[in-house]
Structure formats: structure tokens, C-alpha cells
């Protein structure tokens, strides 16, 4: 069956530009998570969506970062006025619901800010 997909797989942008990263979760999964993974580092939580509830934005590092989830399915992570320190792999994961423990990860989007 189809897993979590993310696009693009790689994105190179210039400092100051805006970027949009897309995540398609597993069909029927109500929970969706965004993480950031810097080179050789662990997973940094960014934002969490659960059904129609207000998202948990507690991990967003600055107001340049935002995310939305349309129709309870596809999610877009937007980074405005990108900085070099934003360079990282952005991972999306989904799970069946808030109380479901297993998260299924997508392959990630590698963002490089020049």
C-alpha cells in the first residue's frame, strides 16, 4: 500500500526566498507530524495536526515557519524568507490517531538554502 509521500525530494533555494514542502499522509491517518533533521542530528518536532483540532505549533522555530493541512489530508509546510540555517531534511509522518503510537515517516525533503 502507499506510504507517506513528500515532495519535492530535494529543494535548493536562495536565501530570502519562500519555499513550500508537501506531505501526503497515509490514507485514513488523522494525525500528521512535521520534523526537521539537521545533518547528523536527531529529529526536531515542528508541528502536529490531529483531525480538525487546532494544530500543536509548539515546535516551530520562528514565525517564518507555518503549516496547514487541507481537508484533513495533504499538508504544506511553508518557510518564508529562508535562511541558511534552515537547511535540513524535513520529514513528515502520519499515524492513525492521537493515541496511536506508531508513526510512519515519509522519505523527507532535503532543503538547501544557498
Amino acid at each position: 500500500g502507499a506510504g507517506v509521500s513528500q515532495s519535492p525530494s530535494n529543494k535548493v533555494t536562495e536565501k530570502g526566498k519562500d519555499v513550500e514542502l508537501r506531505c501526503d499522509p497515509i490514507s485514513g491517518h488523522t494525525a500528521l507530524y512535521w520534523y526537521r533533521q539537521s545533518l547528523g542530528q536527531g529529529l526536531e518536532f515542528l508541528i502536529y495536526f490531529q483531525g480538525n483540532s487546532a494544530p500543536d505549533k509548539s515546535g516551530l522555530p520562528s514565525d517564518r515557519f507555518s503549516a496547514e493541512r487541507t481537508g484533513g489530508s495533504v499538508s504544506t509546510l511553508t518557510i518564508q524568507r529562508t535562511q541558511q540555517e534552515d537547511s535540513a531534511v524535513y520529514l513528515c509522518a502520519s499515524s492513525e490517531g492521537q493515541r496511536s503510537n506508531e508513526q510512519f515517516f515519509g522519505p523527507g525533503t532535503r532543503l538547501t538554502v544557498l
Binding site: G40, G42, L43, F45, N101, E102, F105, G108
Partner: protein, 111 residues
């Protein structure tokens, strides 16, 4: 504040040897402790998980040992194979919370 501390950062083991990765946590409300395996260019994938009511769980060559009183848990990879070369993350969560990940351990298994 890192809620799950993982060590070592990296390790090299010979084929057939045992890889051991350790994690420690502070929050006693955590009730689910998974290990994720990540290959280069891929997202992490669930490898094995344990709940605090058991002290050990084994799946094939992978074993989690859990010490509730010490608030520590570890992953043992028996008979390590070159295909096990990957980055391993421990994590922890409570029933209503988010997964808290360790910093990861890069394992290299030499032929």
C-alpha cells in the same frame, strides 16, 4: 530540554558482534518506548517497541531491555550484519503526547 538522552553518538562493530545503544529518560509518564531505524536518504522506520510493564522484548536479532527504576532502556543488536548499518533513534511518549526522540546513534557494521 532534551527529554530522551541517547548514547553513544556512533559505534563501529564487526560483523557478528553485538551493538548496544542506550537511552535514558526523565518523564515517568512515558509509557511507550520505540526504536526507529533510518537508512541514508530514507525516513525513520519503526524497528521494535516496548511498554514499561515488561523488562525485555525480543524480535529476531533485536532486543530491547527496559529498566523502569533506572529510567533507562537499551537496544541490543545481536549477530550484527552489514545491512544493519544505519542510524538508530530511541524515543518515548505518553498516551496523549508526542514522540520525544533521542539524538540518534550511527551504527557501522564492518564486514
Amino acid at each position: 530540554q532534551q527529554q530522551v538522552k541517547q548514547s553513544p553518538q556512533s559505534l563501529i562493530v564487526q560483523k557478528g558482534g553485538i551493538s548496544i545503544i542506550n537511552c535514558a529518560y526523565e518523564n515517568t509518564a512515558f509509557d511507550y518506548f520505540p526504536w526507529y531505524q533510518q537508512f541514508p536518504g530514507k525516513g525513520p522506520a519503526l524497528l521494535i517497541a516496548i511498554r514499561p510493564d515488561v523488562s525485555e522484548k525480543k524480535e529476531g536479532r533485536f532486543t530491547i531491555s527496559f529498566n523502569k527504576s533506572a529510567k533507562q532502556f537499551s537496544l541490543h543488536i545481536m549477530d550484527s550484519q552489514p545491512g544493519d548499518s544505519a542510524t538508530y533513534f530511541c524515543a518515548a511518549k505518553n498516551s496523549w503526547g508526542k514522540l520525544q526522540f533521542g539524538a540518534g546513534t550511527q551504527v557501522v557494521v564492518t564486514p
